[in-house]
């Protein structure tokens, strides 16, 4: 029988092996560099801003094509597209990271409870998960986003209430994914020697779940969370495009697309849709590459 917890030496060497595998893959490295670059740029937006996206409007320079003054052109209000996309990236990242956080925490807790306690917990959580998964994800997000939630002023002081709605909608859509993933891992872990040993020593369920089972399930959760940030970015932009996200003049990438589409210049002034869409693709691509790289390095069996 193995000792109570995995010896730190093997853990460290397996982590080193994983990071060696990660850095050997070109696509994983590209993903990591892109992700870091996007995050740093998003964080720096208010410090390095060339123009203020909400107020710097120049009606005389509406819908200018890309040029020397405005590298990516201007939008229908005469705002600089580069600045808008820069801020939009910041907003998209904020929304997707926070919504995945919401989905990750809620879903993981539900999965831990369902997998560890089984019985009625598992039946009810399983039922709830099945129902959420019965809806196509964008439909579920639309349904949740169209509910008018009343947030306490503490929240609305920090976030735009429209964005809060989107975060919650996209977050709830992510919940069943994490619930299923966690539950399946708990089901196999709870029967393993090290868990049964600590249980035999009289450890309480909370201690077993959070100190022994959860740490052993972290790797797949991290991989899924990374990939989910990509999906969440797409879903949040989709909601913005449907008019359920941030309202103009908030520069959100999906809203920028719908702004151009609904005002009828998406097809004649193509730069107003080309660049925001490209940025969404770049963000999603970065997290997908990173997530794939993490999965291949943390779970070598899936490496093909």
């Amino acid at each position: 029988m193995d000792s109570v917890s995995t010896p730190p030496v093997t853990q460290q060497s397996s982590l080193r092996k994983a990071s060696q595998r990660f850095f050997k893959s070109i696509s994983a490295r590209i993903g990591l560099i892109l992700t870091v670059l996007i995050i740093v740029l998003a964080l720096l937006a208010p410090i390095l801003r060339p123009y203020d996206p909400a107020t710097a409007r120049d009606f005389a320079a509406r819908l200018q094509p890309p040029g020397a003054v405005h590298l990516l052109g201007t939008d229908g209000l005469g705002r600089d597209m580069l600045t808008l996309i820069w801020y939009g990236t910041r907003i998209s990242l904020l929304v997707s990271v926070l919504s995945v956080g919401l989905g990750l925490i809620t879903g993981t807790l539900m999965g831990l409870v369902a997998g560890y306690f089984r019985g009625w917990w598992e039946t009810i959580i399983g039922w709830f998960t099945d129902i959420l998964l019965a809806f196509p994800s964008i439909l579920l997000a639309i349904a949740i986003a169209s509910i008018d939630l009343n947030f306490p002023p503490l929240f609305t002081a920090v976030f735009n209430p429209d964005l809060l709605n989107v975060m919650i909608a996209v977050g709830i859509v992510q919940v069943p994914i994490f619930t299923r993933l966690t539950r399946s891992m708990v089901l196999s872990l709870r029967e393993q020697g090290f868990v049964q040993t600590v249980r035999a020593f009289g450890a309480k369920p909370g201690r077993i779940i959070f100190l022994h089972i959860l740490p052993s399930s972290l790797a797949p959760l991290v991989v899924q969370a990374t990939l989910s940030i990509g999906t969440a970015t797409l879903e949040a932009a989709g909601l913005g495009f449907l008019g359920l996200g941030a309202k103009p003049p908030t520069p959100e990438l999906g809203t920028m697309l719908s702004d151009s589409f609904n005002n009828g210049y998406a097809l004649s002034k193509s730069w107003t849709i080309l660049f925001p869409g490209l940025m969404i693709t770049l963000i999603v691509l970065a997290f997908n590459l990173l997530g794939d790289g993490l999965r291949d390095s943390l779970d070598p069996r899936s490496n093909r």
Partner: protein
């Protein structure tokens, strides 16, 4: 086998019940009293109160839910508040449009995705593999409605090769029989309409098919790689069989199982209406209809549409499960 199917159907009942409860509650939480929407902004409080009573909105929630369910099982989904058209009738005219688009999209994704996956697996790490996998990663990373806009920009606005939106040109006549325009134009031997219908279908089908295409290519590749590493493939090769024969006959047949599953699941997703793509292309299907229902606070449309879509989605997933049990004799029907 029959018992297995019956059991799976019984398992579905609580899920379908949950779907109806959830949809019902969502609509109660959406702001805006439907009586006010129906009467317009100049309605008096008396009018609103009497219409609310007429619609049953003054009843306690559980009773409203029971009324909703008892109508649902009789396929009575009510009428649209805005247009007055019965929901069930609207579903019957719109669902064929969504099915036609989904089938076309699935065909495109299968014809391109499965061969791409096979070649990528056989020539692992070769240039076909690298291009196919990079493209498919790009495909799942793009907002598809954005791709749709770019396709419209390129092929409709600039090159004038294809129409930008709709299902049929305004100057083309087509006698609707089944609601499937391709079928209708063939049945009536109306080849002018057939050409027009196909031209309208290409761009939205390409757009909707992008994600299934990307996923199919990846799944086919990994399933093929899994199978190609098995002993019986080595045996087949050792027997001196032609490599093409080994791949097509021995490997592909066994790799198809996960591929079929993905085809089914993706088809279920598509049938539930590509809301964003249908909106971009003004495609008169289920997705664009539900979206309009949400925008105009048309309760019965959203309620009926979403319940319908979710049930279709669940049933297709059930069919996939059952076909899986058929295809893989190792699965026990318990």
């Amino acid at each position: 086998m029959l018992r297995y199917i019956a059991k799976r159907l019984l398992d579905l009942l609580p899920v379908i019940l949950g779907i109806t409860i959830l949809v019902f509650l969502f609509l109660k939480l959406i702001p805006g009293n439907p009586a006010i929407v129906l009467l317009g902004p100049r309605a008096t409080p008396d009018q609103i109160a009497s219409l609310s009573k007429q619609l049953g909105l003054d009843q306690p929630l559980p009773l409203q839910y029971l009324a909703f369910i008892s109508k649902l099982v009789r396929f009575d989904l009510g009428k649209s508040i805005i247009s007055g058209i019965p929901i069930w009738q609207e579903i019957k005219t719109r669902f064929p449009a969504t099915i036609e688009l989904s089938v076309a999209a699935m065909l495109i994704s299968m014809v391109l995705g499965i061969p791409a996956g096979i070649i990528a697996a056989v020539k692992k790490n070769g240039w076909v593999d690298n291009i196919a996998m990079s493209t498919s990663l790009l495909g799942v990373s793009m907002p598809v409605y954005w791709l749709g806009l770019l396709l419209i920009y390129l092929f409709a606005v600039n090159l004038h090769w294809l129409p930008p939106s709709g299902r049929l040109g305004i100057n083309v006549d087509l006698q609707p029989i089944t609601g499937f325009y391709i079928l209708d134009s063939i049945l009536t031997l109306n080849f002018r309409a057939l050409g027009d219908v196909l031209a309208h279908l290409i761009l939205p089908a390409l757009t909707v098919g992008t994600i299934p295409l990307a996923i199919l290519a990846r799944i086919t590749r990994s399933a093929m790689l899994e199978v190609l590493s098995q002993d019986y493939i080595r045996t087949a090769r050792a027997k001196g069989l032609l490599e093409r024969w080994v791949i097509m006959k021995h490997a592909l047949k066994n790799a198809l199982l996960p591929v079929v599953t993905i085809i089914g699941l993706q088809f279920g997703t598509l049938l539930s209406g590509a809301i964003l793509t249908e909106t971009i292309f003004s495609w008169p299907g289920i997705g664009s209809w539900i979206y309009n229902g949400i925008l105009t606070r048309d309760y019965p449309v959203v309620q009926g549409g979403v319940v319908f879509v979710a049930i279709v989605f669940v049933l297709i997933n059930l069919l996939v499960d059952i076909s899986y049990a058929f295809l893989d004799p190792r699965i026990q029907y318990k």
